[in-house]
């Protein structure tokens, strides 16, 4: 017997719900929930909303793409993002790296100018906020528009080796969280139990320190974009 339109619609909704549920528990999405939760505990509601927004957007994006490629493709691979860019095959990654290498000097000079100018502004001032937020927003939008899962098989890495890196990441995060909870309160910093943010205050107190950190931040972004 042929299913009715309403049955087909119900089935489609059920499939979509399952895909959304899978997206909501993706490891990367979970990391954003946790970050959002701790930002909320620390009284930083703006950043808590930022993390939660990214988490929900990623979950929705996963469900949306899974629906387009369903029923065969369960992984987030192959389909290029909206905008028609190619996926990150080995070939396209090589092209991207080659193109970025050509512009390395130009971006280096621009990055230096940006770092020196924005570093001149006080932290948390309106000009600094606008300068950094604008760049961060553009980076996220560009990543969202052009990113695609790679159609190539992922490189096989040793589980033991990955676990070793996991221990470093979890250990460092545990020290940061422990320091945060040993502060007089979650919103008051402590010399006795410094978080990384607290330790960065001395470096970021000067123009030169801010400029160097901004340049390193840009360099890290460049490095990620090349990968």
């Amino acid at each position: 017997m042929t299913p009715t339109v309403s049955e087909a619609r119900r089935a489609a909704i059920a499939v979509r719900s399952r895909q959304l549920a899978r997206g909501l528990v993706h490891p990367m999405v979970l990391a954003f929930y946790i970050a959002s939760f701790f930002c909320y505990l620390a009284g930083d509601s703006v950043r808590a909303v930022y993390f939660l927004g990214i988490a929900l957007a990623l979950a929705w994006d996963q469900a949306h793409r899974a629906a387009r490629s369903d029923p065969e493709a369960r992984a987030e691979v192959v389909k290029p993002a909206a905008g028609g860019q190619t996926s990150f095959s080995t070939d396209s990654a090589a092209r991207r790296q080659s193109a970025m290498s050509r512009y390395l000097v130009a971006f280096g000079v621009l990055g230096l100018i940006y770092s020196v100018i924005v570093g001149w502004f006080q932290r948390y001032s309106i000009p600094a906020t606008i300068s950094v937020t604008a760049l961060a927003t553009v980076a996220i939008i560009v990543a969202w528009k052009i990113s695609a899962g790679s159609a190539a098989q992922p490189e096989q890495l040793s589980m033991t080796g990955m676990a070793a890196w996991g221990v470093v990441a979890v250990g460092a995060s545990a020290v940061e969280l422990t320091s945060m909870f040993l502060q007089p309160s979650l919103t008051v910093s402590s010399y006795a139990h410094p978080t990384l943010s607290y330790l960065s205050n001395s470096v970021l107190g000067s123009w030169s320190g801010r400029s160097v950190v901004l340049f390193l931040w840009l360099a890290l972004g460049w490095y990620l974009a090349r990968l």
């Binding site: 990150f88 990955m162 890196w165």
Partner: protein
């Protein structure tokens, strides 16, 4: 030893372990992936790529934005 020194020491310890792991990973016989390989593995998927860019953006926002 003060708790400040212990905490800073622990941060430096994990930083040193990370650097040590990366140096060891560059040995051709090592089974440990390099830092770049780990990042590439995470960025193999669209979700991982966007998530890492969002973390990078957060660092800047956290340190400089209101």
């Amino acid at each position: 030893m003060s708790s400040h020194a212990i905490t800073v020491g622990l941060y430096l310890l994990f930083l040193a372990i990370g650097i040590g792991l990366n140096i060891r990973a560059h040995n051709p016989k090592s089974r440990i992936p390099t830092f770049s390989q780990m990042l590439r593995r995470i960025m193999h998927s669209r979700t991982g790529r966007i998530a890492l860019v969002a973390w990078w953006a957060f660092i800047g926002l956290h340190l400089f934005s209101k």
